[in-house]
């Protein structure tokens, strides 16, 4: 009986030692992981700051104005260009003078060209 007890105790001892060892190494691994992630977060944060700075540099009013002056035909807004909704004129009905003329000539009516549904191009399919 005491022998079994001793064997059991020794087994438990070794088992617990192995377990502690394992936990310790896992913890170490996790700690490294945490440190790595923290470092990565800091790095990402620095990169974000850098990108923000770059974004603002690219968006700085001075640069936008330079680009606009160089590449666009836009001019600064004049106070007279700001108007009330009711002051905006109604859109005119579209005037298509060519269509009117064609209509007057009677060209809009269907013509009596021969109907041949199997002509796709200009050459008729041979049987």
């Amino acid at each position: 009986m005491p022998r079994i007890f001793h064997a059991l105790a020794i087994a438990l001892l070794i088992g617990s030692a192995v377990y502690v060892y394992k936990i310790k190494y896992e913890t170490m691994g996790l700690r490294f992981e945490v440190a790595r992630l923290e470092k990565q977060i800091a790095h990402e944060r620095d990169l974000i700051a850098l990108l923000k700075a770059e974004w603002q540099k690219l968006n700085s009013p001075e640069r936008i104005q330079m680009l606009s002056d160089g590449h666009l035909d836009l001019v600064p807004l004049k106070a007279s260009q700001i108007v009330r909704w009711q002051d905006v004129p109604e859109r005119q009905a579209p005037v298509d003078s060519i269509a009117d003329k064609l209509g007057a000539l009677g060209l809009a009516e269907p013509t009596s060209s021969p109907k041949s549904p199997d002509i796709t191009g200009s050459v008729k399919k041979k049987d």
């Binding site: 700690r31 440190a35 944060r45 620095d46 700051a49 850098l50 923000k52 700075a53 770059e54 603002q56 540099k57 700085s60 009013p61 001075e62 104005q65 600064p76 807004l77 004049k78 106070a79 007279s80 700001i82 108007v83 009330r84 002051d87």
Partner: protein
């Protein structure tokens, strides 16, 4: 005690004493423990063993407990690995009122070496120059051969270079993280932001203010260790307005061939500075630029005789004193004479003028007479109350003492009445005029956000609301009336009011009439002002289109107009299509000149 230590007979295994007849008292606990520990009798060893076991169990228990306890403690040791220098350098971002970044920190890495710790210097030189080909190999070899403990190899390397050098695995080579201050908008708002030094300390402008007020306090509280924990500093500036103002000033300098210019947009209900520009300016990314004395902040540090814009103050004083009312008449038929000095008008009218006429004709004689009606002492006291005789402190560390004449006689009052003989910083004049038009509440301008309630709480009332209405009325009249001088700034739909000022510059101690300093103060909308726009031009010339004039109405005025037209869509000031209904009821009731 019958038995002493050591026992009389240590070998009691052989002989046992007969039990004593006499019954002894039971010994006390410590004594029994003592005996149990050191008694050598085999039959008494059992309690001893038990005792030893308990002791060991207790010790092991304590150790186990400590281990568990220790393991559960948060890790603190690992956090002190980084150098403290990096921590000290973090600065908060600076953003404008809409959150646009004006200044930010960017992390860079610098490469250094500790020559004593490098084993193979030739190999190190070879490998490093392979990664950084722009380094001079010979110089590097000399650096590494030196006896110094620390040498910089290269400042501000890229992350890729850092990675490659890291992979070389050279001993004695290290990286120092550094913060670099970046101003992405370049010259825009340079004078407000200021700049910071190589080791990221604020040297001028808001940067210095942050160091003196915010950052120092934060550092003491132990909060400034990490840039990510620092809340960005929000300013009252609007970068769009700031840029537009600067751009229009650049155009103004160009057009009128001025030496310098300055401008400001301020919210008169809160005292928030929306934009402040001074030209020539500098790029804070290159702080050496800023040292040129020509690049001072003219709006805050420069002191100038403000010319006729000061007439607004004189008029307000005279009206507020009650000695003059809006319908009073002032005789401007003949020049004023003080000994050898003769005070005349630039636009002579040679007749009797009412107060609004004096204002729109910018009559020196009329204004001087108003000041004389109040008297020398009253005039001085009023200017003192309006903050024109003392240094104005804002968040910016830069400021200027106004140049006040030591002996203040009647002539001084006469000249100061129309803005000569007293030089103030333009921002001071802006503060005073803001108070004149906003109902009489004076508060110092600020570069940080402030609500109208806060502004009112720290304001002091300097003039009556009726006087303020009169000021708004005559300023509006000056822009709307055909004889007024501020017509060029009257942008349709914004109901602008304004006052021009042209001061002769004293060159070598006397005014030669050729060098002028022009100012314009515009308010919008004049019936209930929200913003004040100021433009100053130093020595503008008469150019084509100004008909030979170099007065403010022909240069500072149109520049202000251009600024108003351009920035109004950004501001909290919608365009109005109908003129306001009864904007100046008291003036109409009094039947002031120009109301009919």
């Amino acid at each position: 005690m019958a038995r002493s230590f050591p026992p009389d007979d240590p070998y009691q295994l052989t002989a046992r004493r007969p039990p004593r007849a006499q019954k002894k008292p039971r010994p006390s606990l410590p004594v029994r423990v003592w005996r149990a520990l050191f008694s050598m009798r085999i039959d008494k060893s059992r309690p001893r063993l038990v005792l030893v076991m308990i002791c060991f169990l207790a010790i092991f228990g304590a150790i186990s407990y400590r281990l568990v306890h220790y393991a559960n403690q948060p890790e603190e040791v690992a956090q002190h690995r980084f150098p403290v220098t990096e921590i000290a350098k973090a600065r908060p971002d600076i953003v404008d009122r809409n959150g646009v970044v004006l200044a930010t920190d960017v992390k860079t890495v610098s490469l250094f070496a500790e020559p004593k710790r490098i084993i193979d210097k030739d190999e190190a030189v070879e490998l490093i120059t392979a990664v950084l080909p722009d380094l001079n190999a010979r110089e590097l070899r000399e650096k590494l051969a030196s006896k110094k403990g620390f040498v910089w190899i290269k400042r501000e390397i890229t992350p890729k270079e850092r990675e490659e050098i890291y992979r070389l695995g050279l001993p004695g080579i290290g990286f120092q993280p550094e913060s670099k201050r970046i101003y992405p908008n370049g010259t825009t708002a340079a004078h407000v932001l200021g700049y910071s030094s190589i080791d990221n300390t604020g040297i001028a402008g808001i940067e210095k203010y942050i160091d003196s007020e915010g950052l120092a306090a934060l550092a003491n509280a132990g909060l400034a260790s990490d840039a990510t924990k620092l809340a960005p500093v929000k300013l009252s500036l609007d970068i769009r307005v700031q840029h537009a103002l600067r751009d229009e000033l650049v155009k103004g300098i160009d057009r009128y061939k001025a030496k310098a210019a300055g401008g400001m947009v301020i919210d008169v209900t809160t005292g928030e500075v929306i934009a402040l520009a001074s030209l020539p300016d500098f790029d804070p990314n290159n702080p050496k630029d800023a040292l040129d004395p020509d690049k001072i902040n003219r709006v805050v540090v420069g002191t100038y005789e403000m010319g006729s814009t000061f007439k607004a103050l004189t008029t307000a004083m005279a009206l507020d004193s009650g000695k003059i009312n809006i319908n009073s008449t002032l005789d401007a038929r003949s020049d004023l004479r003080y000994g050898k000095y003769k005070i005349g008008d630039f636009h002579p009218t040679h007749r009797v003028l009412t107060v609004p006429e004096v204002f729109i004709h910018s009559s020196n004689i009329g204004t001087a007479k108003m000041a004389l009606a109040v008297g020398v002492e009253g005039h001085r006291a009023f200017l003192k109350k309006m903050g024109q005789l003392d240094r104005l402190q804002t968040e910016l560390p830069e400021n200027a003492e106004p140049q006040v004449q030591k002996y203040w006689n009647e002539l001084t009052t006469v000249t100061v009445a129309y803005g000569h003989g007293l030089a103030v910083a333009p921002i001071q004049a802006v503060m005073a005029v803001s108070a004149l038009v906003n109902g009489g509440h004076m508060f110092p301008p600020t570069f940080l956000p402030r609500t109208p309630e806060d502004a009112l709480a720290l304001s002091k009332t300097v003039i009556k609301p009726e006087t303020s209405e009169a000021m708004r009325y005559i300023m509006r009249l000056n822009a709307s009336h055909k004889l007024g001088t501020a017509g060029k700034a009257d942008i349709d739909g914004y109901y602008v009011g304004g006052k021009t000022g042209t001061a002769d510059k004293a060159i070598h101690g006397h005014y030669d009439g050729k060098h002028v300093f022009t100012t314009f103060m515009g308010i919008a909308p004049a019936d209930k002002p929200r913003y004040l726009f100021m433009v100053i031009l130093d020595e503008p010339q008469a150019v084509q289109g100004t008909y030979g004039f170099q007065t403010a109405g022909w240069n500072a005025g149109p520049v202000t107009g251009a600024v108003i037209e351009r920035v109004a869509p950004f501001l909290d000031m919608p365009k109005r299509f109908e003129p306001p209904v009864a904007p100046f009821p008291t003036m109409v009731k009094l039947g002031a000149w120009g109301t009919k």
